[in-house]
Amino acid sequence: MDTDALIGWIAIAAALVLLTYLVLWGRRTINRIARTGGRSAREIHRELHGGG
């Protein structure tokens, strides 16, 4: 496999994996926020990051 193809397939796989991860992370966050009721950015941030 030539270098272009290697770089290309890695880029495609990385883009799709990152995209899927961000969407699933977003889904989990949305469900979590919905369970506890919508709140301000700071409050959500604190909750998501264990009180930080």
Binding site: A11, A15, G26, R27
Partner: protein, 759 residues
């Protein structure tokens, strides 16, 4: 201007997650993917095609995350235009609406010409158009105009497909493209020799053309933003709207990559006389997808028929939606007074905005007549890139300024990494489009400056505050006249009393006309009809202030409701064209890493386009004989000294200009500063002294010095926002801790100031 009701009705909420996800997918799977595959294959090679779709999907997701966050926090005000208005005010929101108008109109023209290209191509392939007296190219234009005209008429009639019916169409489109992808993968598994089509992986010219084609086909990822507009009709919008946006980008990207893969492996070199498959598909880029898919199907006719039907379905439904979207954008500008009243005209019988629709029709026709699909798509892409660029700025700005006030249903991770990445990528893609379509750039370079000129010449003089921004409850105007205008923001009687004496001095020194303004914040949950319940305190405060100021100065009063006090005050400053804003600060402050002084005062200092004077503990009958002005060479220091000169007792007041020696004041010459200010303001002669003290702790030293003075006057920090987020600036920290009467000032310096504060 069209009359707008103060209270808007609620639509029934009957769209669920599936419906709105399909709505986004329906808009995205327009003609972009069908035209994009050929363009990308010819420009970037077979592997480049897949890379372009995968990376574009990721970049689109970054913007979708911004839209999702904003839509979850402001579900009723979906749309880039509204986000820009809330985030940046009127001028940028006008430009956003202006770009959205062309973006959607160009996309409409693009779908019309793509529809014509595929339909005419199909019938010409069957030999059914040989009787035509005009060339095929000209006939395509006629068909494109007819298609656009039909959907403009449908929009005029007001019949638009609902989310539920639209979802069915989209399912059909999705089934087709998914089927193409699945067949392609199955064929590649059964006949692995087809994978040889990926050699060369990238175009022989190299990777550099990839960005250009990515920019051109970006229009294929536009459409998720329309989900924001369905917030009013969606069940649990805070939860479902952001999910639908994220899902639609994920589904569309995976589908596009699969379809792109199928298009690469569809053609065998042996079937086309040994020619490289990717060159064959890219030979006629705009119908490259058709050339590929016909080889996947059992017969060429069947393949062509399927592709043509798919394009007809997807291009027409997207054409309908984009005309609707473009009309909405221009109607909103007309309704808010930013475009002439003609744009806000509503048909009395159809209840549709025929004014905005007619001008939109001209734009769509112009794009359809003048541009080939590639350039029409590139024009739409560049405008959407600009639009998403603004939304990514908005999400940063709104989270920073209003994060404590809004109720979020989704927050993106690692904020602000993804909006910043999206901005960077969008700049790159927009720039690279020039390599593929200089026409798109030429159009953008005419359209955007035209928008700026329109705003400067017309919109800003005619714009009206929208119901979401501000609403006048009671207004009393002074006799009309010119002169320096000072706006005083009054919160309640106590606050009014604490500001009166200082305000009196400032108004006297400037010989000003005075505008007293009170903002009544009404929570989103409270109907606007109940807004007057909240105005009693403000009314008393205004009466109190009027007792003192009305005999001396021309005075106007305004009481308004607003959703947010800071936004309301800034909006009032812009509308009344105040030269100076005076407001009080109680001095109490919640612990916050976001706000330096407070969630109301910070955004006002940031955004008010005039001089701002914030008074802390300056009430009663205090006299200021000894005034301290700490300076460090910042741009607000001269104004701080000017204000100190006004507030210090005229007979025996003395002003000390203090600088704390050390690293931060390197390059600042106190004597030179004082001399320059005395020359500029001779009334300060004999009253101003310079003083330098040495200390490692700048804040502590200033506070220690302040003990000997009656008043401290400070210029706000001029540090850029991004740097300020990392630490507490000196002036604001002094303001918080100082126990003496204190005045903070910011000199309004227009666009330059705005740019400097951000960068």
């Amino acid at each position: 201007m069209a009359d707008r009701p103060a209270i808007s009705g609620e639509l029934s909420r009957d769209l669920n997650l599936f419906h709105i996800t399909m709505m986004g997918l329906g808009m995205m799977i327009g003609a972009g993917v069908f035209v994009g595959i050929g363009i990308c294959m010819s420009g970037a090679g077979p592997g480049g095609l897949l890379v372009a779709f995968a990376l574009n999907g990721l970049i689109a997701l970054f913007s979708a995350m911004s839209f999702a966050e904003l839509s979850s926090a402001i579900p009723r005000a979906g749309g880039a235009y509204n986000f820009a208005r809330i985030g940046f005010g009127r001028g940028p929101s006008f430009l956003t609406g202006w770009m959205e108008w062309l973006a959607s109109s160009a996309a409409g023209g693009f779908y019309a010409v793509t529809f014509a290209r595929y339909t005419v191509g199909f019938f010409a392939g069957l030999g059914l158009l040989e009787w035509l007296p005009l060339p095929l190219g000209a006939f395509e234009k006629v068909v494109a105009l007819a298609a656009a005209g039909l959907f403009i008429f449908i929009n005029y009639r007001g019949s638009s497909e609902t989310g539920k019916v639209g979802a069915l169409f989209t399912v059909g489109q999705m089934l087709f493209v998914v089927a193409v992808g699945v067949v392609g993968i199955a064929v590649a598994v059964a006949q692995p020799d087809r994978l040889a089509n990926f050699k060369p992986f990238i175009h022989p010219d190299g990777w550099w053309k990839l960005l250009g084609v990515m920019g051109v086909i970006y229009v294929a990822f536009e459409g998720f933003e329309v989900i924001a507009q369905a917030g009013d009709e969606t069940i649990e919008p805070r939860r479902n709207v952001p999910k639908a946006m994220l899902y639609s980008v994920l589904i569309v990207t995976v589908t596009y990559v699969a379809v792109a893969f199928a298009s690469v492996v569809a053609v065998r070199s042996a079937d086309i006389g040994g020619q490289e498959a990717w060159r064959y598909v890219g030979e006629d880029p705009e119908i490259g997808f058709q050339r590929a898919v016909e080889h996947l199907m059992p017969s060429k006719f069947f393949g062509n028929l399927l592709v043509t039907l798919a394009v007809i379905f997807s291009a027409t439904s997207a054409l309908n939606a984009t005309i609707y979207s473009a009309t909405r954008a221009s109607y909103a500008l007309g309704r808010d007074g930013m475009l002439p009243p003609y744009f806000a005209r509503i048909s009395p019988t159809r209840r549709t905005p025929y004014g905005a629709l007619s001008v939109t029709a001209v734009l769509v026709f112009a794009v359809a007549i003048a541009l080939r699909p590639k350039h029409a798509g590139a024009t739409a892409s560049i405008m959407f890139l600009f639009l998403f660029f603004v939304v990514n700025l908005c999400v940063i700005r709104i989270r920073r300024n209003m994060g404590d006030e809004l109720t979020y249903g989704y927050l993106m991770p690692l904020f602000p990494l993804f909006p910043v990445l999206a901005i960077g990528c969008q700049v790159l893609l927009a720039g690279a489009i020039v390599t593929e379509s200089w026409i798109a750039w030429a159009i953008a370079l005419v359209w955007v400056p035209l928008g700026v000129v329109t705003y400067r010449a017309y919109s800003r003089h005619h714009a009206v505050a929208t119901a979401d921004e501000i609403h006048v409850l009671e207004e009393r105007r002074a006799e009309p006249g010119e002169g320096y205008r000072i706006m005083v923001a009054v919160a309640n009687p106590d606050n009014a009393l604490s500001m009166i004496r200082t305000t009196y001095k400032l108004c006297g020194a400037k010989d000003a006309r005075v505008e007293l303004v009170h903002m009544v914040p009404v929570p989103e949950q409270v109907p606007l009809t109940d807004a007057d319940r909240y105005m009693l305190e403000g009314k008393e405060g205004i009466l109190e202030t009027m007792l003192y100021l009305a005999p001396q100065f021309p005075l106007s009063t305004t009481i308004r409701y607003c959703r947010n006090i800071a936004r309301g005050i800034v909006s009032a400053v812009r509308e009344k064209r105040a030269d100076m804003l005076i407001l009080g600060w109680h001095g109490r402050r919640r612990r916050s890493r976001v706000f330096r002084i407070g969630s109301t005062v910070d955004p006002i200092i940031e955004r008010a386009p005039c001089d701002v004077v914030v008074l802390k503990d300056c009430g009663g009958n205090r006299t200021f004989r000894r005034v301290l002005v700490p300076v460090a060479g910042g741009p607000n220091s001269p104004f701080a000294l000017e204000v100190a000169g006004i507030l210090a007792e005229p007979a025996d007041g003395e002003i000390t200009v203090l600088t704390v020696g050390g690293r931060k004041t390197k390059g600042f010459d106190l004597n030179e500063f004082v001399a320059a200010q005395l020359e500029r303001n001779p009334s300060l002669q004999g009253r101003v002294w310079g003083k330098t003290v040495w200390g490692r702790d700048v804040v502590g030293t200033i506070l220690q010095q302040a003990e000997d003075y009656d008043l401290v006057v400070l210029g706000c920090t001029s540090e850029p926002i991004l740097r300020r987020m990392a630490h507490y600036p000196v002036p604001e920290t002094v303001a918080q801790r100082c126990g003496k009467p204190l005045v903070m000032v910011k000199a309004g310096r227009g666009l330059r100031s705005w740019v400097k504060r951000w960068i």
